[in-house]
């Protein structure tokens, strides 16, 4: 059951890793769709008529960087779960992959408010001088993910240390 579940998680990661860049490219080609998506998700008092195409492309690049952090984390998660599915449990490589996933999860959780703030600056750049917006958003959701990432980071670090000890122990006859 655990192996099947691990395989399912690995496939899920692969699917996201394939689909996400396609969506990103589609958004680049069809920037209007990206604009409508961004307008609905960014709940900011932006004067949309002042936003130029260049600004939207900048927001797209910013979002791409943010999403890439998550994709990098998923790549390492896929590797670990793919090995779990093969029956290779907590060896050094898997522990290291889990640690990398937690590091990227942590970075992405920190990057989320930063992405929001930078987006608000970018989109309000053409506003009159006293109406530019810097929006900082740090909700309980972000704090939860940061806490979870920190716990995962510590636990995976312990696993890495345990794997090293196991390897060292094997060198004693």
């Amino acid at each position: 059951m655990n192996r099947r579940f691990s395989q399912l998680v690995a496939w899920g990661c692969i699917a996201i890793l394939i689909v996400a860049p396609v969506i990103a490219l589609y958004f680049l080609i069809n920037i209007e769709l990206f604009i409508s998506f961004a307008k609905s998700s960014l709940n900011l008092p932006i004067q949309w008529q002042t936003v130029s195409d260049m600004q939207w492309y900048s927001v797209w690049i910013l979002t791409l960087f943010y999403a890439t952090t998550g994709m990098a984390g998923l790549y390492f998660l896929r590797r670990a779960f793919s090995n779990f599915a093969k029956g290779e449990l907590f060896n050094y490589s898997n522990s290291r992959d889990l640690r990398m996933f937690s590091v990227f999860l942590f970075v992405q959780a920190l990057a989320k408010p930063l992405h929001f703030s930078l987006s608000s600056i970018l989109l309000s750049m053409n506003h009159p001088a006293d109406q530019k917006i810097l929006s900082v958003s740090l909700g309980s959701g972000e704090i939860k993910v940061i806490a979870l990432a920190m716990i995962l980071w510590v636990m995976s670090d312990l696993l890495v240390s345990a794997s090293k000890l196991e390897v060292e122990n094997k060198q004693f006859i």
Binding site: E168, Q171, F172, I173
Partner: protein, 69 residues
């Protein structure tokens, strides 16, 4: 490394084959081979005890300290 494993010498003296020793003390031939060539970080007291028991020798007959240089 200044610690030299003289297990080969003791095996020859006692006319015991590596395979027999490995079977007696319950370790794999591969691990015994690593021990004979000194390619291990350490030997457990329990392993040393069993080797000494089978080969009827002292730990000093198997391990020797030779200073570097």
């Amino acid at each position: 490394m200044p610690i030299v494993v003289n297990l080969d010498v003791m095996l020859a003296k006692r006319k015991v084959r590596g395979k027999e020793l490995a079977n007696e003390i319950g370790i794999t031939e591969q691990n015994l081979s690593l021990l004979r060539t000194g390619k291990v970080k350490g030997v457990r007291f329990s392993t040393l005890e069993q080797i000494c028991q089978v080969l009827k020798c002292q730990p000093g007959d198997i391990l020797e300290y030779i200073p570097d240089g």
